[in-house]
Amino acid sequence: MALFVVFQTTFFLTLLSLRTYQSEVLAERLPLTPVSLKVSTNSIHQSLHLQWTVHNLPYHQELKMVFQIQISRIETSNVVWVGNYSTTVKWNQVLHWSWESELPLECATHFVRMKSVMDDASFPEPNFWSNWSSWEEVSVQDSLGRGILFVFPKDKLVEEGSNVTICYVSRNIQNNVSCYLEGKQIHGEQLDPHVTAFNLNSVPFIRNRGTNIYCEASQGNVSKGIEGIVLFVSKVLEEPKDFSCETQDFKTLHCTWDPGTDTALGWSKQPSQSYTLFESFSGEKKLCTHKNWCNWQITQDSQETYNFTLIAENYLRKRSVNILFNLTHRVYLMNPFSVNFENVNATNAIMTWKVHSMRNNFTYLCQIELHGEGKMMQYDVSIKVNGEYFLSELEPATEYMARVRCADASHFWKWSEWSGQNFTTLEAAPSEAPDVWRSVNSEPGNHTVTLFWKPLSKLHANGKILFYNVVVENLDKPSRSELRSIPAPANSTKLILDRCSYQICVTANNSVGASPASIIVISVDPENKEVEEERIAGTDGRFSLSWKPQPGDIIGYVVDWCDHPQDVLQWKNVGPNTTSTVISTDAFRPGVRYDFRIYGLSTKRIACLLEKKTGYSQELAPSDNPHVLVDMLTSHSFTLSWKDYSTESQPGFIQGYHVYLKSKARQCHPRFQKAVLSDGSECCKYKIDNPEEKALIVDNLKPESSYEFFVTPFTSAGEGPNATFTKVTTPDEHSSMLIHILLPMVFCVLLIMIVCYLKSQWIKETCYPDIPDPYKSSILSLIKFKENPHLTIMNVSDCIPDAIEVVSKPEGTKIQILGTRKSLTETELTKPNYLYLLPTEKNHSGPGPCICFENFTYNQAASDSGFCGHVPVSPKAPPSMLGLMTSPENVLKALEKNYMNSLGEVPAGETSLNYVSQLASPMSGDKDSLPTNPVEPPHCSEYKMQMAVPLRLALPRPTENSSLSSITLLDPGEHYR
């Protein structure tokens, strides 16, 4: 037993000692220093990666340890970061830890060291920090390679608004390096002679292709090199907005959201953010392929509640939104279908539709919208699968559009889309009588009534009006009423009625029926009443009319007028208690006169003309000036008149006329006023206030003065157009007197002449009685009585009273002997020709330049030999002039005419001849021939004395031609064949 006790004691002691030993061993080794510290760099993430081990750890034991890490930059004393890292450590475990550097690692040498401490509950306190490990140096600069300038970090991805440190390493400190961010110079902090760092705070997003930062090394002005980086600045990822899910069929959940800004960057640096849908109850996850919606398949019918998380993610950030909902509360119905209308009539219809069935015993709330006639009505109805609604109070013959949408009635989430259909109600009989008016033209024996009606409004027509029925009924004589149907677009008809009273009923008819009748009665004498026309003035294209209330039973008033220029009768109905109205249409035009007639309608439907009004909606100035006539022009006055000017057909009421008068005198005449014309000239103006006074006497004028006048009418809107003045000159004062004297004188002379004409016989007898015929004279009887047989009465025809020698002109001379019917023209003569009117014996006496008259008055011999004996009367006589002149009287007459009465009258009864003229002019009047005659014969009119002068001496020698010509001339047979 003692042995057992001893053994037991020994065992315990041994155990205790072992425990003690163990503790001592651990205590000796502690603190456990980290060993084999290796530091590597990750250029992309700009991080230091540390790995180390802890030696002497108990085998198969996990101990919790804390490592304190120190990081220095450039030199070990410059500690930039100190931190603890706690972890459980196993035997022989390699530990890893990373540290991200703000400053690009390439720009500075980093130093890392660490120490550790046991932080395990299984070890009693106190614990001691181990010693620091040795500094581990990390330098990337050596691996940069050749080059004079380097900028870091390359292609870094940062979020908008974050802070970034960049740096450059310049191999040659002689170089001057300047750095720019998007063209703007930035200033940094020099870390060592080769390295400068720039802290960029809150970097902005410029573009998704990145922000260029570059540095330029230069010596003086010589660029040595350029180096840069692209900093990819991403927009901050936004939380998805308006995230919601709904189902249309309990099979698929359709989730939508607003994704916000796209954070994709160029150069594949960052793609667009991804969206993931996670449902927490089922634990299922789905990566969404679209950026704003995702469909989730409902797999379990039993799942009623869903908890969705939408996760948006990019390289820099993750954002999520969450919704929790009951599936039945998120029912978005499909739009209703089979929308139809049944039992459509004029005023109501039944609308039916169907809803896609969701689950049994589902109740739907539906909303109906009815659009028609510019109005909208809304109705709500609760239905099961099949919907039906009774649409009432519809307008006939109207197209309606009805549409319906539905929602879950028990848990309203949202309305479905609309489903609609159009329908048209049927026609109904027109509901109102057409508005009818008439115009009556009375003619002897009958009157022509033109009926007008206005088309019914759509509201009252209740369909398409097809025709109008006009029923004419004679009220005085029982006769059959006459029916006329007028096809629809017409709005008037003409009736010729005799002088009886007629009742006219007009109805509008559509396919269903007729409207109530509009009744008008035409009395026997419809418009005989003389009513004075009153002038009114329109304002702003409207007329205000008022009239005296009519005693007696009046059921209303009608105002009618004509539209211009269409000349369409217009009318307006006015209630019986109203005595004024305003007529206003767009058709009223300025300058057009409108005549309004106001009728009262009696209970018997007879229209009675009450008043007439006329006026202009806007008066205009006259468009033309009158044509003015000037009358009664005297030296002191004249009268202007323009009687033809019509005052009615003017674009305004003519109020009068302005007469403008211009004269040289400065002073205006009495009644005239001075006025200045538009062209600045002064004149006198006279105003006539009466439009019917169309004449003006302008007096007090000066004789022999010129006046200018111009007459223009005026309305309230002004005068007529400018026109030119007309000139009037007053005559001389004496000239009028002269006229006073001259006219009677002319009259007297005329009177005398007429008297003379009438009494010509008497005058003749008185002043120059007929020469008595000797044969018929009483003397004859007396002679016979004395019986003297030798004594005869000389016959004038037997005598050749004289011989005239006419000396013809040279060649080309025309010799005209104007007889009663003959003229002789001798153009062939080249030598002077002479016409001799001689006794035939001297036929061939030479021609001479003179016309010689032998004055037989003084030729005693001839006188003695007897006058008659000198004249060849024998038939042998050559056909000289005698042949031309049928009788000696003719010769005489010809001579009388051509030779200035050279022979004068030869009174047959006188024995002695009176030779009146002693002169004779050359016969030839043709001067053309004169220059052709080289030897112009001296002009000579010779009075032949009684001396016998041989003619040949005085005359040029005749040539053969001349003699021939003479012969020719004297031979009428040659010339007048």
């Binding site: 292609d155 040595k224 980086i229 990819f232 594949s268």
Partner: protein, 202 residues
Amino acid sequence: LPPPAHLCLLTLLLPPLSSAAPISLAESISQAYSLALYMQKNTSVLLQTYLQYQGSPFSDPGFSAPELQLSSLPPATAFFKTWRTLDDGERLSLAQGAFLALTQHLQLVRDDQSDLNPGSPILLAQLGTARLRAQGLLGNMAAIMTALGLPMPPEEDTLGLVTFGASAFERKCLGYVVTREYGHWTDRAVRDLALLKAKYPA
């Protein structure tokens, strides 16, 4: 078909047949020269378009960084005397080597830009066209060398040396150097071919 129509069809068919036949040296030189001249007109547009899309400092007015060079791309600049004393074969093979490198580099730049500037079809199209023209000029030069009886230089992968981990800025710089050198080499090719043209007149 009436006989004239037959003739027309024949004439339409003839040119492809004739083009297949070997063309003369002068013709080859003339074709290459025309192409080089045409390329020369568009090189500055390509460079400007490229720079415009790269941001500052590239898009800054008057940007120029002659110190930027690519080891994988032979420089176009040369001393005149050296260049002038080169024989035809040397001159042509230098140009060929450069345009071979340029076609590869232009493809690289286009790839980079389609990644960085996907929304810039104009730049991408211009880069693609420039590459095709460079290839066309290479073909023309090969024809000349064949006509001259010169040995063809071996095709080598000049871009094998390009590091794919280049940063965005480095790639922008590379694109700049490539488009710039493309212009310089085109200018030089025009001079090369002008010299040849004078030497081998038509």
